[in-house]
């Protein structure tokens, strides 16, 4: 009987109920859009920031030696030190934040002469991992764990192809500026010579241009080869100058990750690229506070909308409520009629609002972040919960009013 009375009473006031649903829909759509965007943003922003490159730099710990006469400093020199390649896996096995370490790429730099067009030119050659399977690390499902420049520097704009894997001893990727200067093009073979600064022994290596890289940064004037190739060329097996680490750092302290890396590999110092981390948190904080404000305003408007509609309904149904009370309806029965109606309005408005919000989130994703927003399942119950709470909360004053109706007063014969 309850549902029959409720259903028929709603059916009779379709337009008013629809109005309340629209009021909820508006608030719910904004909440849903912002929740979806906010949740997706964790992934999206991290991915975007990852595109900027690594956010932790690992270097060998070196003692700085001050040089000069008493009272006059000529600056400082550092003894050249290396990180052992055999220690690199430990970066992924730090104590607490290992899951946040997305990947790393080691670099060994050397200056080489390139014979191109008969004219030798000096250029920086960097040995790195392009797509390296780290044998000491496996994924949760036992799969191989890949790391390397291809994982952490997705902002590299590559023409041609990437150097395939560690076993490729001839493939190289040439920065666009270097390629122009050296007159190198895709598929071309060229020779590099490395002269040891101490022994003056010269080693040669023939390389092929697999890809041409454009980053807008210093990489544009460098040549990249597999780490093993660079180590062999300069006779520094197992040595690395620097490691760039990409950590998922949405609200996580990169400094802490850095300290854990230093703890795992005592001979290194790991510094966070603080500016990048701060920018991440700053953008997120600004976005979240703006979103919070918009959501609060939208939900406030929804509450007012539902409250107005429900109050009008109570006023219109005064006699009916009085009659129900006169023939035996208790307060909770009257309240549940209105509360369930409010919950249904919240549910309908919430569902429609979720869908509208998803469309809105897609728009925000496309325009602000340039990528599609994914479906975040937890947003559905959250939006429905918020909508139903708004509808129920907004109905509390009208319900109180309904409960205060005195049958003797409203049923008095006119």
């Amino acid at each position: 009987m309850f549902w029959r009375v409720l259903g028929k009473s709603i059916a009779r006031r379709k337009s008013r109920v629809a109005l309340a649903i629209v009021a909820v829909l508006m608030g719910a759509s904004v909440s849903s859009a912002l929740l979806t965007t906010s949740f997706s943003m964790n992934e999206k922003l991290s991915a975007q920031f990852r595109n900027f490159g690594a956010n932790i730099i690992v270097q060998p710990r070196s003692d700085t030696i001050e040089v000069g006469l008493p009272g006059i400093s000529f600056g400082s020199v550092t003894e050249q030190r290396y990180i052992n390649e055999s220690d690199l896996w430990k970066i992924k096995r730090i104590q607490n934040w290992s899951a946040n370490v997305l990947g790393f790429a080691p670099f060994l730099y050397e200056v080489v002469d390139v014979n191109a067009g008969g004219q030798p030119r000096q250029v920086v050659l960097a040995g790195t991992y392009f797509e390296h399977v780290e044998p000491k690390i496996t994924g949760n499902d036992g799969s191989d764990w890949y790391t390397g420049i291809r994982n952490i520097a997705t902002y590299w704009d590559v023409r041609g192809s990437w150097v395939a894997n560690d076993s490729d001893g001839r493939g190289s990727m040439v920065g666009i500026t270097a390629a122009e200067r050296l007159g190198l093009s895709l598929g071309e073979t060229y020779e590099v010579n490395y002269a040891d600064p101490f022994t003056l022994n010269v080693t040669q290596k023939e390389l092929v241009v697999a890809g041409i890289v454009s980053t807008g940064g210093p990489e544009d004037s460098q040549i990249f080869v597999n780490l093993g190739v660079a180590q062999e060329l300069s006779s520094r097996p197992g040595k690395v100058h620097v490691v760039q680490v990409s950590a998922l750092c949405f609200n996580c302290p990169a400094e802490k990750i850095g300290r854990e890396i230093e703890y795992s590999i005592p001979s290194v110092q790991a510094k966070s690229v603080r500016q990048l981390v701060n920018a991440e948190s700053d953008i997120m904080m600004r976005l979240e506070s703006m979103m919070g404000l918009v959501t609060a305003v939208a939900l406030g408007a929804s509450t007012l909308g539902v409250m107005t509609t429900m109050t009008t309904t109570v006023v219109e149904r005064r006699k009916e409520i009085g009659l129900m009370k006169a023939i035996g309806a208790r307060g909770r029965e009257i309240a549940s009629l209105f509360l369930v109606e409010a919950a249904l309005i919240g549910l309908a408005g919430g569902l429609a609002g979720y869908l509208a919000g998803y469309v809105l989130a897609q728009y925000i994703g496309q325009t602000v972040f340039g990528s599609a927003v994914t479906v975040v399942p937890v947003v559905i119950p959250l939006t429905l919960g918020i909508s139903m709470a708004v509808a129920a909360g907004a109905s509390s004053v009208p319900i109180k009013r309904a409960l205060g109706i005195e049958p003797a007063v409203v049923l008095r014969g006119d």
Binding site: V5, G328, A329, G413
Partner: protein, 238 residues
């Protein structure tokens, strides 16, 4: 017969200037049909509301069906009313979006047990068996009043209270409703009816006239048994 309604020195004061009932004392017996008459503002409806537990007196005591209702909580009053009192209104007060049958079922629902066959039987009993699925808007005034009476009867109350039940009806429909009420009285229902019409009032076993919230006269079987102060009686006659 045991009194089913007892009012002792009942006063109802709405505000400093408005005293609807003024130290009223009276009793009504089970199975009795009492008509209440009086000019507008004499306290008829207030008296009916207090007997029907829709309103509480400012002072005095009210005993209905053996229960002292003065001082009962709102919740207990509602329950008591639901189980013991059937209300018949001048305006019928049917829920407009529910059919005749559903309007009766609602009263059962609030009393805690819905029995559709019982509701149908009561509607058939008041001559509405063929209009069960009609909405109030599609029923005549007389038909609506009969649905209202069926709703009042469905929980088998000990007391039927009617406020001007024929006040909104033409003479034909009014007569049909009165016939129904006479029958219900014959079947043993205790009835208290507020009316302006002396002819309708005369159908009752007893006519109480109120003036300014006090009993001006109390006639039983046509014989005045009033113990009322002379000037009030004179005012009533006037």
């Amino acid at each position: 017969m045991a009194p089913i309604i007892e009012l002792m020195d009942v006063t109802k004061q709405y505000d400093a200037a408005t005293r609807a009932l003024d130290g009223l004392s009276l009793s009504m017996e089970e199975g009795e049909w009492t008509s209440i008459m009086g000019p507008s503002g004499s306290g008829k409806t207030t008296l009916l509301n207090i007997i029907g537990c829709l309103d509480s007196p400012t002072s005095g005591n009210v005993r209905v069906a053996g229960t002292e209702v003065t001082g009962l909580s709102q919740k207990r009053l509602t329950l008591f009313r639901c189980q013991n009192v059937g209300l018949i209104f001048q305006q019928y007060h049917l829920i407009p979006y529910l059919t005749a049958l559903e309007n009766v079922l609602v009263a059962q629902y609030f009393n805690g047990a819905v029995d559709e066959s019982d509701a149908r039987m009561v509607l058939e009993d008041v001559g509405m068996g063929r209009r069960l699925d009609h909405l109030p808007a599609h029923l005549s005034g007389g038909e609506q009043q009969r649905v209202c009476i069926a709703r009042a009867l469905v929980n088998a109350p000990r007391l039927l209270l009617a406020d001007e039940p024929t006040g909104n009806l033409d003479s034909g429909n009014g007569a049909k409703v009165l016939e129904l009420m006479k029958r219900l009285h014959k079947e043993g229902h205790t009835m208290v009816m507020v009316t302006h019409s002396p002819d309708v009032a005369a159908l009752g076993d007893r006519i109480i006239r109120l003036v300014d919230g006090r009993v001006a006269s109390d006639d039983r079987n046509g014989e005045s048994r009033s113990k009322v102060v002379g000037d009030i009686a004179m005012e009533a006659e006037a």
